[in-house]
C-alpha cells in the first residue's frame, strides 16, 4: 500500500550546552511509513521524540539529517501541508474570533471557494456539535469545546491525512468519546490518521498499527493484533517492556 507519511533516517539534534558534546539527539535515524487509509498510533513516554517528529512533519523544525515526506513531497516544501489537517495537543487559536470566523480564516488560507467553505463550515460545526455556539468568541468556550473547534479546523480542507497530537488529552470522558467517534468516522471515510497518545486503551481500540519510540529510537512497529499475539501481552505491557520499565525496580 502507498505510504502517505515517510521518514527516512530522520535525525534531529538540538544544541544543549549542558550535554558533554554540546548537543542532544531528539530523534535518532528514524525510519517509518504510514500507509493510506490506516490509523497509526505513535507512542512513547514524555521526551521520547514524538512531538519533535511531528514538528518535522509539520515544518516547524528542520531535520539535522535524513528526510521526511508527506504524499511523496518533502516537508520542507509548504505545499506538502496542503492535504493535511493538524490538531495540536492544546488549543491555540485566536480567542477574539468566533468558531465560524476561525474556520473561514483557515478556509481562505487553503483557497477554498466561499460557497464551498460556507457549506463545509456548517457541516463541520454540526459534526463537532458547536452549531449553537458558532457566533460566540472562542475565549468563552470550555476546553472541550475549544478542542472540538480544533478538530473542525483540522478538517476544513477535507484532508487526506490527519496529524493529531494527543487529541483527547485533558478532556472529560464524554469529550474523549466524541473525539474518538470522530476519528472512527474519519477512518471509515478512508482518511489516514497519524496520532500520538498516552491513552493506550484508546490506541488499542482505534489503531491499525502502532510504533513505539523511546529516547528518539524506534523500538517496535506493527499492527496491534500482531504485537499482542507475538508478545502474549496487552499493549500497555508491551509499551512498558519496550521503554525499559521494570516494575520490580520501580517498587
Amino acid at each position: 500500500m502507498h505510504a502517505i507519511v515517510e521518514l527516512r533516517n530522520l535525525r534531529v539534534e538540538y544544541r544543549a550546552p549542558s550535554a558533554p558534546d554540546g548537543k542532544k539527539v531528539a530523534v535518532k535515524d528514524l525510519n517509518l511509513q504510514v500507509r493510506a487509509g490506516e490509523v497509526f498510533g505513535f507512542l512513547g513516554p514524555n521526551g521520547a521524540g514524538k512531538t519533535t517528529t511531528m514538528n518535522v512533519l509539520l515544518g516547524f523544525v528542520n531535520a539535522t539529517s535524513g528526510d521526511a515526506f508527506l504524499f511523496d513531497v518533502n516537508v520542507r516544501e509548504p505545499i506538502a501541508r496542503q492535504r493535511i489537517g493538524y490538531l495540536p495537543e492544546l488549543t491555540y487559536y485566536y480567542k477574539f474570533l468566533t468558531a465560524e470566523e476561525i474556520l473561514r480564516f483557515y478556509a481562505k488560507i487553503f483557497g477554498i471557494q466561499r460557497t464551498v467553505a460556507e457549506q463545509r463550515i456548517d457541516k463541520l460545526l454540526k459534526l463537532v456539535e458547536l452549531e449553537s455556539a458558532r457566533k460566540r468568541p472562542l475565549k468563552t468556550y470550555s476546553k472541550g469545546m475549544q478542542q472540538r473547534v480544533g478538530l473542525a479546523q483540522a478538517l476544513i480542507n477535507d484532508p487526506d491525512l490527519l496529524i493529531l497530537d494527543e487529541p483527547t488529552s485533558g478532556l472529560d470522558p464524554l469529550g474523549r468519546m466524541k473525539v474518538r467517534s470522530i476519528i472512527q468516522r474519519l477512518k471509515n471515510e478512508g482518511k489516514t490518521v497519524f496520532f500520538s497518545s498516552h491513552e493506550l486503551g484508546e490506541v488499542e481500540t482505534i489503531c491499525d498499527r502502532v510504533a513505539i519510540i523511546n529516547q528518539g529510537e524506534l523500538k517496535v512497529e506493527g499492527s496491534v493484533a500482531e504485537l499482542v499475539a507475538k508478545h502474549q501481552a496487552n499493549l500497555e505491557q508491551i509499551f512498558l517492556n519496550f521503554i525499559g520499565y521494570q516494575p520490580e525496580l520501580a517498587a
Binding site: 509539520l58 516547524f60 505545499i79 501541508r81 493538524y86 491555540y92 487559536y93 477574539f96 481562505k108 488560507i109
Partner: protein, 259 residues
C-alpha cells in the same frame, strides 16, 4: 496573496475588537475638540497653531497605534502558540511577515483616515476653509512613513523578546529620527574624524522619516507639496519597508517558534 490578505484580515479584526484602540481614539478626539473650542484673545492667526497641535496629536496617536499593534503581533503568535496551527497549513514564514505588515499598515491607515476626517471637519467648521487636497497629501505621506515604522517594529518584534522593550526602542528611534534626523549632516561637519564619517554614514543609512512631516504646509497654508516629491517619498518608503521586511524574514526563518 490570499494567505497574506487572510492574515491581514485577522490583524484588522483584532485591532477593532480591542478596547485600548478606542481609548486612544476618544482621548485624541476629545483633546482636539477642547483645543478648537477655546478662543485665544480673538486672534485669528491662532488657528495655525491649533492645527499644529491637532496634527501633532494625530502624529503621536498614529505612532502609538502603529508601533504597539505591530510590536505584539509575532510575539503574541509565539506566546499563545497560534503560530503552530497556522504554520501547519501551507503558509510560509514570509507570508506571515507580509500578512502582519499588511494588516498593521491597513489598520493604521484606517485609524489615520478617521483622525484626518475628524480634523478636517473640526478645522473646516472653525475656519470655513476646506483644503482637502493638502490634507490628503499630509495623510498619504504620513501613511507612507508609517509603513517604514511598522516594518521597523516588525523587525524589532523578532529581535527583541518582549513587545514592551521593542515598543520603547522603536519610539526612541522614530522620535530621534524625526527630531534630529534632518540635522545629523550638520552635526557630522563639526565632528573630528573618524566620528564624522560614522555620523555621516548614519545620516545616509537611516530612514529619513522627517521628510514625511509636512505639517508646516498644512497649518501655515503653504500650498501643496510638489507631486514629484510625493511620488519619490512614496518610492523611498516602499524601498525602505521592503528592505526591513526582507531583514525580518531572514531573521524569522531561522528563529525557533517557541519563546
Amino acid at each position: 496573496m490570499r494567505t497574506v490578505s487572510a492574515l491581514a484580515g485577522v490583524v484588522i479584526k483584532e485591532l477593532y475588537r480591542r478596547k485600548d484602540f478606542y481609548v486612544l481614539f476618544v482621548l485624541t478626539l476629545l483633546i482636539t475638540v477642547l483645543m478648537w473650542s477655546m478662543n485665544f484673545f480673538n486672534d485669528k492667526s491662532i488657528a495655525g497653531y491649533l492645527k499644529e497641535g491637532s496634527l501633532w496629536l494625530i502624529w503621536i496617536s498614529a505612532l502609538v497605534i502603529a508601533i504597539v499593534t505591530t510590536a505584539r503581533q509575532i510575539p503574541a503568535e509565539r506566546e499563545n502558540r497560534t503560530i503552530f496551527p497556522l504554520l501547519a497549513k501551507p503558509v510560509t514564514r514570509n507570508q506571515v511577515v507580509l500578512g502582519k505588515f499588511g494588516g498593521c499598515w491597513i489598520a493604521t491607515g484606517i485609524a489615520l483616515l478617521v483622525f484626518y476626517l475628524f480634523f478636517t471637519i473640526v478645522a473646516g467648521t472653525r475656519e470655513n476653509q476646506w483644503p482637502i487636497v493638502s490634507y490628503l497629501q499630509a495623510l498619504w505621506l504620513q501613511w507612507m512613513m508609517l509603513a517604514i515604522v511598522i516594518a521597523l517594529a516588525l523587525l524589532g518584534s523578532i529581535v527583541f523578546a518582549a513587545p514592551s522593550s521593542n515598543s520603547t526602542i522603536c519610539f526612541v528611534v522614530v522620535l530621534g529620527i524625526l527630531l534630529l534626523g534632518g540635522h545629523l549632516d550638520q552635526v557630522a561637519l563639526r565632528q573630528p574624524e573618524p566620528l564624522r564619517s560614522v555620523v555621516y554614514a548614519l545620516y545616509f543609512l537611516m530612514p529619513h522619516l522627517e521628510w514625511y512631516d509636512v505639517r508646516q504646509f498644512v497649518f501655515f497654508e503653504q500650498g501643496l507639496v510638489p507631486w514629484t516629491a510625493c511620488a519619490l517619498a512614496t518610492l523611498y518608503a516602499a524601498l525602505y519597508s521592503a528592505m526591513l521586511l526582507l531583514a525580518t524574514w531572514l531573521v524569522f526563518r531561522r528563529k525557533a517558534l517557541n519563546l
